[in-house]
Symmetry: C3
Subunit: 355 residues, 3 copies
């Protein structure tokens, strides 16, 4: 299977890159992240070119990283700068690949393609994460033994919430929604409105709504490839204006680790009960329950049922609610095409087959 | 590898199909079973045609089955009758496959081939299961991580009992038996007699015999493809008549779940100590010990040792005691042949390759 | 992948072959070892030719081995000598393969090639194991879920000790060594000297040296294919003569079980604190810690990182310290070549592909 290399991938949260060696596998590449003494975040290949030991099993030595097997040291550019053996000559030809890295909105982004093609303008912006008027949950990263595309499918069709999340995040079963989907370049918007329904558990449990209230829900998804979501969401008293609403929005970013595993970075933010640590904890508990005991087992069951078969080869029954997810699959398929088939596109992707 | 589709497979016991969703995998097909409000047993494909969620993760809604991921509902015929999304149109083209199902002698049988070819006369009869003069054990189903053919081999050569089951079901090592094998259509009989031997543990432990008694054993096996056994068995005082014997017979039905896993349905019945729950429990304990701590590890070791190789390719040494098992393998090979090679057979099988 | 069959493989230690059935898998062959009543060590195929049951699940019956599934018995030559079934005829054509076996220096060696080519002169000698002037640790065998070649690489480049074993067996990081490598036939010698360094933990912890002492280390490795090591090693007060040194030598023999698993036989011996069981226990503890918590996880990580790729295809960066390991890989590659390409070699190997 193939991954799109010419994309920025969110490796994690700024705070997770420290003066320690942090391993991450992204689209099959083994990568080690750390921060220099001056505070610069670095991403290098996690495989020593000598005997293929994972570099993260070694240690930091100042700003260099030392292999834990035979002691070779590499600098933050990936060059071998110390060889304790023989005459001590450092091999020029061998080095650790360095990945272009940019920190933005509290996220660490890596460019997986050729360095020359790395354009910071391609990083999706999440200015809300820097907006101090909101109250935030923690910055979470969940490793999931699920392929990225099935998680994206899940998030781009929120109609599942009434069936899979009735006791946590979802609206009442049978509620009717109005959903509109549009595409701008490689970006997809899916705006969803549920008028006049009881509030979900996550709102009543946190005091944002009372159980006997009738509310309008909005949930507007913005997707960028491969799995970067800004979800503008909340509730307002039925018939009210969104500006008066209780916002419970989120950034959710899914990236492929391998063909069958992913990282799920997520953070929620709200405009109510700003100072309540208890409300923050309640939201985190409801979300974690939904993601790990409701979404994850269902997607794992789907993945197992597909048994390695390609999605379209299984001739899925498509419903109107699949519109956004299907368009996202098409964007990814387009990005995977060789450049010459995409001559009109400004950002021409290259493709790498996973090892 | 291939399975014979044009056969009736015992999915389980009548009592196990209830107002709940019961998943079973049979010759690679994922199936969900349930009972309607009126009591009819239903078997449908366990894979939602929309996003491939296992239907058994959903719930019953009257006589319809509702997918737990996005809420589509299907009726007992497999038709989609409710779509909560968009304009609510129900997709005619997509449906769950319904498997012909017949309940007989307390067993639930599914036809895995084309519906038109489903002839109830092909279901093996087990009238003993309906005979209230016997005392019965429970109706058991054991999932086994073993291929069906190796379990059938085990059951069609009971000479292993003296070596593998010396402390449970088997006669003393070194006892001599007289075995005759005959074939009628696709049915095989293997009749075994052991004259003048001490009784096995299962008989002495249940008071059916005394340790110092000398008995004649009989064990007459009737096999139907792929693994349906009626075992007419018991002991009688040496030289006595079978009619005077202590019967400990059984129905044992093995079906393939996948290439490497099976279900083992079993139930024993006897004509002694009819009212003793203690004797029933003693028999169940001895049988479970024999099946799961003696047979299963040995067959698993054989399976591992074969390492995926085809049985005949390993050039097995054949003994006279292999006669019935070898004939059963030939029956299965014949049933797997395309129809045109079997023109003289009335029941012409079709073949499906496992996914 | 291929193994060299025309070699002697150390199946284990003499004391481990007893009046019990001992299974070992060597270059993919399943083998069962036992000792006759007269004390002869026997190695037979561990797979019954009848139904492929592992013979080690059966039992000894005098000098014969009885299959635990259907009771066939085979003598120490591998011939079937008893068939309890039918007319009792014993099948001449089928037998268990018998492996030529020689016990030498307390080790049990098996010849895996054609019997006619088995020359005892090809067994590496380890006379030190018979030298009663030394104090010995126990005779250990560790099954390792690692391919043999990566363990051999580890042992033929002891420069890793300073990085991987700083708190157990290794010298201080940054110590300089002088290493010379030479090849004699298929045997490789790698002699290593570290002048003027603090003694390793294993020496100070056992009272063989004081922490403030300055010592010279020697570590002379002798390798025979596929993984038989004699390591002549120890320390001496800096500038002293090796004859005055504290010897801590070892025999370490690694053999492939399968492509991805091995047995690691090891035994250490010393010329100091001869009568101290406490020192013996201290050495065993340090060695086991180094092998199982330092070497094994690192080699496993390398193995996982290689992901099934062939070593040379990954274009490893070679350092001067890789010299011995690279030469050993070349010896193994030569031994794997068909005979006609090696006409000048006296010992012409044959090759078997793993099943």
């Amino acid at each position: 299977m193939a991954f799109v290399r010419d994309l920025w991938y969110a490796a994690g949260w700024t705070q997770d890159v420290k003066r320690e060696l942090l391993p991450r596998t992204i689209i099959g590449d083994h990568i080690v992240l750390y921060r220099t003494e001056a505070g610069e975040a670095i991403a290098l290949s996690d495989t020593c070119p000598h005997r293929f030991a994972p570099m993260h099993l070694g240690k930091l030595n100042g700003d260099t990283i030392e292999c834990g097997y035979h002691g070779l040291r590499f600098d933050r550019g990936g060059a071998c700068v110390y060889n304790p053996h023989g005459n001590g000559a450092t091999p020029r030809a061998s080095h650790l690949r360095r990945y272009p890295l940019i920190e933005k909105n509290g996220l660490v982004w890596l460019w997986m393609g050729e360095e020359a093609a790395a354009d910071p303008a391609g990083i999706p912006d999440f200015p809300w994460l820097d907006d101090e008027t909101y109250a935030f949950t923690g910055s979470h990263t969940i490793p999931m033994a699920l392929p990225c595309d099935l998680i994206v499918d899940n998030l781009l069709d929120l109609s599942h919430a009434a069936y899979l999340h009735p006791g946590t995040l979802g609206p009442q079963q049978g509620t009717k929604d109005v959903t509109s989907v549009r595409k701008e370049g490689t970006r997809i918007f899916s705006d969803r409105l549920i008028p006049g329904a009881p509030p979900a558990f996550v709102f009543t449990a946190t005091g944002a709504a009372t159980p006997d209230e009738t509310v309008d829900y909005w949930a507007n998804m913005r997707w960028d490839p491969p799995g970067s979501f800004y979800m503008d969401a909340g509730i307002v008293t039925a018939g009210g204006q969104k500006e008066d609403g209780r916002i419970l929005s989120s950034v959710q970013i899914v990236i492929p680790a391998t063909e069958t595993s992913s990282y799920y970075h997520w953070k929620m933010f709200r405009n109510f009960a700003i100072d309540s640590a208890e409300v923050t904890a309640g939201i985190e508990a409801a979300v974690m329950q939904a993601f790990t005991t409701e979404d994850e087992p269902m997607i794992a069951a789907v993945h197992q049922r597909m048994a390695g078969r390609e999605f379209w080869s299984m001739k899925p029954l498509l419903l109107s609610s699949d519109s956004a997810a299907v368009q996202a699959r098409r964007v990814m398929a387009d990005l995977l095409k060789p450049r010459h088939e995409n001559e009109s596109m400004e950002a021409q992707p290259i493709v790498a087959v996973a090892g």
